[in-house]
């Protein structure tokens, strides 16, 4: 399968996973191995370098790229601070910007996200901003230096699928950097759908972490992402609302040609 390129890094896996909602941390390396993900996101606010048993970083396989996120940030300034702390704590220079000032629906604040992206990109971070799918905001994120754009399919944790499909399709069609669908993906077929639409990757947490068997669910997502990507690169057949009759209406134009 073709590789995913983000910020000069080529990745075989197009499935990114989150770590926030698992029943225990021991399961995280097993999930990572089973689905072959190469990018793992974690809330920096949950990272505890001092803890012997509960340091989240100890559970993420070393060959994965860490994608610390700025969960808890309520504005650009807080997101920038958290990103810098992440780098200082040895989490590398990738960062997923999450700026959320709405505790009810956890919808991102695009305006503050653009501000944080601009500041952090200038400081050499590989910035992947989480956003509400909006074309103008996505364009501004590109201008601000984002290396991928991560629109939500539905609010975080809802497992409701790609409810923002039309808007995400516009981003896929118009934005030249990778579109990674993040949030809302509730089942493998949702992941396939996003990939068939032309998304470069998807990020999944809740659907894997809160299933009864996270390891096998991760495997199912991995297969679905691959299937969706293969379908996209193989060019899906045209969809039409009407059947095509074997005696075409314009057939008379060809009569007598032979």
């Amino acid at each position: 399968m073709d590789k995913l390129s983000i910020g000069g890094c080529n990745l075989d896996s197009r499935l990114l996973i989150g770590t926030g909602k698992f029943p225990n941390k021991d399961i995280i390396p097993k999930v990572v191995n089973e689905c072959g993900t190469q990018v793992v996101t974690m809330a920096l606010r949950r990272v505890d370098l001092d803890s012997k048993n509960d340091n989240l970083l100890d559970y993420i396989p070393k060959n994965c790229t860490l994608l610390p996120n700025t969960s808890g940030a309520r504005n650009a300034l807080e997101a920038v601070r958290i990103a810098k702390l992440a780098r200082a704590m040895g989490c590398g220079n990738w960062v997923k910007i999450e700026v959320i000032s709405d505790n009810k629906y956890l919808l991102p604040d695009n305006q503050e996200t653009i501000k944080a992206t601009e500041i952090l990109a200038k400081e050499g971070f590989i910035v992947l901003p989480y956003m509400s799918p909006d074309l103008m905001a996505a364009k501004r994120l590109v201008e601000a230096g984002a290396k991928a754009v991560m629109p939500l399919g539905a609010p975080i944790g809802t497992n409701r699928g790609i409810r923002t499909k039309e808007l995400i399709q516009i981003l896929i069609d118009e934005i030249d950097i990778p579109i990674i669908v993040d949030a809302g993906i509730g089942k493998p077929s949702d992941a396939s759908e996003a990939m068939e639409m032309g998304a470069e990757a998807v990020l999944v947490n809740t659907a894997i972490a809160t299933s009864n068997d996270p390891i096998n669910m991760a495997k199912a997502f991995s297969m679905a992402v691959k299937a969706g990507r293969l379908a996209y690169t193989s060019k899906l057949g045209r969809k039409t609302r009407f059947a095509k009759a074997s005696s075409p209406l314009t057939g008379f134009l060809n009569e007598g040609e032979e």
Binding site: K21, F22, R45, D48, S51, D54, E78, D102, N103, N205
Partner: protein
């Protein structure tokens, strides 16, 4: 606009008539709704809804997983002083109670902090009684400076402050406030608070909002269950949380549902709140506000606490003592109340894991932005 206006709106509400008018269909209709209004919430608190606890629990479990995943945040309280000028009939720290009073020095606070942090806890809640003479804001500020060296998140459960004072403690390093109205019914409030600054109902009621204005990150409120009929107090607590969340959308709002525990000088006039009622309250809160934090303390016994985990609890205290200096000192003070769940942090960590949940010790840190 203050939450007091909402309190007044329901002050003369005919709860019993409303409950009598409900049918089983009303309960089922509310259970099928995604977004609930105030009276939907009250419907779930009704005696009739008490017959639908399993249906409520199934939905509450799903909503909790969606919003919080399989994670429970652990914290512990640290009592730093118990001097108090109030006469609250339900509290062991009542000025009239002849108990050992104590106020920790900064060295003693540091000693407690070292001991607690070694157990892996990163979120601390500091408590005092209400005495601006013995434990002024400057004392709280000094304590915060010491605790910052050992903990990632510091919450306070002290007397209500002015907005400027909240800003002062927040700027020093506090990110969370716990303050219970104790009882929302103003008449009962006046009756159980015999004397002292706590008699000022409105000043306490508006305290969480003043902290929100001061840009606090999280606020935990609630009523002390047992001082009034629980359904009314549960209703007001939920409406208060909803009011704050709507007005301050970036603040994490939580509720605790504490039940009165035995303590020095306890009074007899306590309304019964049984386990079924407590569970109904927690479930109704989760359905009404799916994003709400719900905190359960060691006031409850281990059997109940363990079984509440999948129903929507997001935060639990662990390794608790309610005595001043209770973690490290031999000459500690008398306690505020008796705790039920006396298990260690390690034991609680293990039980959470065995329930298929992840104990979270750190969920915030000082990022240097106030």
């Amino acid at each position: 606009m203050s939450f007091y206006d909402i309190y007044l709106k329901y002050k003369k509400f005919k709860y019993e008539e409303f409950f009598k008018g409900l049918t089983r269909n009303d309960i089922l209709r509310v259970l099928n709704r995604n977004k609930m209004d105030d009276l939907d919430f009250l419907t779930l608190l009704s005696p009739l809804a008490g017959e639908f606890l399993e249906d409520m629990a199934i939905k509450a479990n799903k909503l909790s997983l969606q919003h919080f995943g399989k994670a429970i945040l652990l914290f512990t309280p640290m009592y730093i002083a118990n001097h108090c000028v109030n006469k609250c009939t339900y509290c062991g720290f009542n000025i009239d109670n002849d108990i050992r009073r104590k106020k920790l020095s900064m060295d003693e606070i540091e000693k407690e902090a070292k001991y607690i942090s070694k157990k892996g806890l990163k979120h601390i809640l500091i408590l005092t009684g209400e005495s601006k003479r013995d434990t002024p804001v400057s004392y709280i500020v000094d304590a915060i400076k010491v605790l910052k060296k050992y903990f990632n998140s510091i919450s306070i459960e002290i007397y209500p402050l002015t907005e400027d004072e909240y800003r002062q403690v927040i700027n020093t390093g506090v990110d969370g406030l716990t303050i219970y109205q104790e009882v929302y019914d103003e008449r009962i409030y006046d009756k159980v608070h015999l004397a002292g600054p706590k008699k000022n109902y409105r000043f306490r009621l508006d305290a969480p909002e003043r902290a929100c204005k001061g840009n606090i990150r999280s606020v935990n409120i609630g009523a002390l269950l047992g001082l009034n009929k629980w359904r009314k107090e549960a209703f007001m607590s939920g409406l208060h949380a909803n009011y704050l969340q709507n007005k301050y959308p970036d603040t994490e709002i939580s509720i605790s549902p504490p039940r009165i525990r035995p303590h020095v000088g306890i009074f007899d006039d306590v309304y019964d709140v049984n386990d079924r009622s407590l569970v109904q309250y927690i479930l109704a809160l989760r359905l009404y506000m799916p994003y709400l934090g719900i905190t359960i303390s060691t006031r409850e016994d281990k059997y109940l606490r363990d079984n509440l985990i999948p129903l929507g609890i997001t935060k639990m205290s662990a390794g608790v003592t309610t005595e001043v200096g209770g973690h490290t000192q031999s000459n500690k003070s008398d306690s505020q109340f008796e705790i039920s769940d006396k298990r260690s942090v390690k034991e609680i960590r293990e039980i959470i894991i065995s329930k298929g949940y992840q104990p979270v010790f750190k969920n915030w840190m000082d990022i240097g932005v106030k």
